[in-house]
Symmetry: C2
Subunit: 462 residues, 2 copies
């Protein structure tokens, strides 16, 4: 099989240019993708890899013509097993989730289904019997979860984009730790039919990509309708008055620089009270929503506990102790907190937070799997409870050589606004610090910098 | 004390005309109100009656100048006890609920606080240690609940309007059984601060009045903003394909006539599948929302069970058996049912149902207090779960001499639309059947017919 040397970046625009110029064909790209996958060997990224012939048979025209992608293995694709990273739970799906159908109809090429923290419960990337997909950026570093395989597949240059899910931060934490863009659209924008529920009322499908425009394009195709309003000139960017890095001073310095960069883009920085956001987040991990996780997959977990990952079982089993009265009190508390944060949104357009407060190695996470998991969610768990849209974007490496990420959040429907700012920030980072990333990610950043600085496409797609 | 014979109807427009013409003063009206209250004696309507001097001291200008009203005793008024019809639970409120403050600031005169089914749990009007306020329309008939005293106060001509609350139908069932208008605005339109919670996420303040315009005027003052869009010409009026009258064939005939009258007003009648509405309603009385009732007043109920009405205790205690998992499954089921009914709303503008399927005597309700209570809610319990606005309007008497009521419902924000149709229907009833009502209600209907047929005021108030 001929591998054309031109296949380098898998960014959507780069592939489109390569196809248009006749430099390579979709078959060449698929071959290169499988070559890279084979080269990595047993990296814990894939739960199901499709036969290359099946992929090649599906090449078809469309806006995502010849664009390789992956799907997290808690999302149904007809004819393939859905495992949710639990072999005992696995079933062969009879219908393809609508969000995947739309991508396939647009010409995207499904390479396979990716590893995850079992039942999408966790932000660690280690709670799976299918192996641990480490971050490609730093040896021994977790990729984060629960969408671990999807994030690594993009970061390692194996696909152009990958579908994830995000309930507590599963679409943002792994983006930060693997140095890719993670877009979690507004709740309800992308249909959740065909997803194994984590917390059904909060679950969102998300996307990992090499650039913000690629994330917006693919999320727009997945969505029933994605709000892509433009920017309002100088934005008021909220930053928590209470920042917490759990002792990682290099991360604190990196975030200071990130905030300075946002100000350097011409935006106003506003300190905001982060307490109600944190309080909302605690409801998800320490409170009544654990019962919603059990409501989703509890019949399986309770009837076949031996087939569940021990940490996942421990977390989910707590949901059984929660009373109905506690749930309604939690819902009432959330309504109060939402009202408090609504007042904050009168003062700011966008909230900027570190994607993760600190980074964690596989060894550290294995030794302290529940506390460090909660730590990782410090800046993410509140988003879906408070009905916010979010985009995580790489922000370079810290002074200690760990990846650092910025997450921008806005009220439901602000997807376009936060994407615009994220794109501007990402381009600036790529221009200033082209050596700050490794591997496929650096290639993608080179692609960003060599492109004309075009705005994010603003049409409402899907 | 001089009682001027001119004080007859307490409708707001009638009072305004009387005051403008110098026929009587607010002091005359207050005196007449207290005379009528005294004449009725121990009728179970009032839990707290204010001293007449306190009322007279508060006469002030405003859009509700000199308009007497009552407040259900699960709503706080500073300096008065809030009992929720449970003497052991009672406390003297330190702050007045904002909705009441707005009425007082508008010039309305608070006469007292009214009886209710304890903790607003029930549709029966008999679950109170403060007596049973019977319907003024038929001796021995229940007034319905939980806002029993408020509805009777209006029906008996003791006040111009009365504030109630409505979770499962407490603002509509008593309106039907006492022959007055009951408006339950869209959820969230009127602030619920200062209410003793029944199901906090569903509770609405409501209003009982002698006419639809009076209900709209007072609800508009209570509200943060009431959507009062106008009618859209010929409306599509949905009527359940599955009608249930629990054997009351006279009620069935009366509802047939009611539907014919709506058609006679120029509207299209559309049969709709009522199954998802009924299924949603069952979640409230038979399912997880019982836990929300306990979340509200459960600490008191569990710690001092001997002070709780035995039927109320029996109903509330079931909430303690509900698990958190069941609540989240119930919320998910509700989301499915809401999606099903959303499809129905594409076919209709308004849903028309009997306010109650059948009527009940005090003796019957006492003998069978839980089953008959559920029966009364057949056409009401789904409304707040599905986030609908509703207005109950009298529809005359059945062939067996029992009151019959029509309830019109629409999606959140349709308050103005359903009020327009209700007003048109009410005027038509008054013109056709002036002898179909008794006492103060007949007087109010006479008032309706002698007025020019003016439209409901459409300004957004509050």
């Amino acid at each position: 099989m001929t591998v054309t040397p031109e296949v380098k970046s898998l960014q959507i625009a780069a592939l489109a240019r390569g196809y248009a110029a006749g430099a390579y064909t979709p078959a060449d790209v698929v071959a290169e993708v499988f070559r890279r996958i084979g080269e990595r060997g047993d990296d814990g990224v894939w739960i199901t890899l499709r036969p290359i012939g099946d992929v090649l048979a599906e090449i078809r025209p469309g806006p995502l013509y010849g664009v390789p992608f992956a799907v997290k293995d808690n999302i149904d694709v007809a004819g393939l097993p859905t495992t949710a990273a639990c072999p005992g739970y696995a079933y062969v799906a009879s219908r393809t989730a609508p969000l995947v159908e739309r991508l396939l109809a647009a010409g995207a090429l499904l390479i396979g289904k990716t590893n995850l923290d079992q039942f999408a419960t966790g932000l660690s990337g280690i709670r799976s019997p299918y192996g641990v997909p480490e971050s490609p950026l730093v040896p021994g570093l977790i990729s984060g979860g629960s969408s671990s395989g999807s994030a690594v597949a993009v970061s390692a240059g194996l696909v152009s984009f990958a579908v994830g899910t995000d309930t507590a931060g599963s679409g943002r934490v792994p983006a930060a730790l693997t140095g890719v863009v993670g877009l979690k659209p507004s709740r309800g924008a992308v249909p959740t039919t065909g997803l194994v529920p984590a917390c059904a009322s909060l679950d969102c499908a998300s996307v990992f990509a090499l650039s913000v425009p690629d994330a917006v394009t693919t999320a727009g195709i997945m969505a029933d309708g994605l709000a892509l309003g433009g920017p309002a000139g100088r934005l008021r960017v909220g930053v928590p008055a209470q920042l917490e890095f759990f002792g990682d001073e290099a991360a604190r310095s990196a975030f200071d620089e990130t905030v300075a960069a946002l100000a350097g883009l011409g935006h106003e920085i506003v300190a905001v009270d982060f307490a109600p956001f944190l309080a909302a987040g605690r409801l998800l991990y320490e409170g009544p929503w654990l019962a919603e996780r059990l409501a989703g997959v509890g019949d399986f977990v309770l009837s076949r506990p031996g087939e569940v990952h021990p940490i996942t079982r421990e977390v989910l089993s707590r949901g059984g102790e929660i009373t109905g009265v506690e749930v309604f009190r939690g819902l009432a508390r959330l309504a109060e907190l939402r009202a408090e944060t609504t007042a904050t949104w009168a003062d700011i357009d966008v909230l900027a937070v570190p994607s993760v407060p600190a980074t964690v190695t596989v060894a550290e996470m294995t030794a302290d799997p529940i506390r460090l998991n909660s730590m990782l969610g410090h800046y993410t768990t509140f988003a879906n409870l408070l009905d916010l849209a979010a985009v995580a974007v790489p922000a370079g490496m810290t002074g200690e050589g760990r990846p650092h990420g910025l997450t921008l959040l806005g009220p439901s429907g602000s997807d376009g606004l936060i994407a615009h700012l994220a794109d501007a920030f990402h381009r600036r980072q790529a221009e200033r610090n082209p050596d700050g990333m490794t591997g496929a990610l650096r290639q993608s950043l080179e692609e960003v910098t060599t492109r004309a600085p075009e705005p994010v496409v603003l049409a409402v797609v899907g």
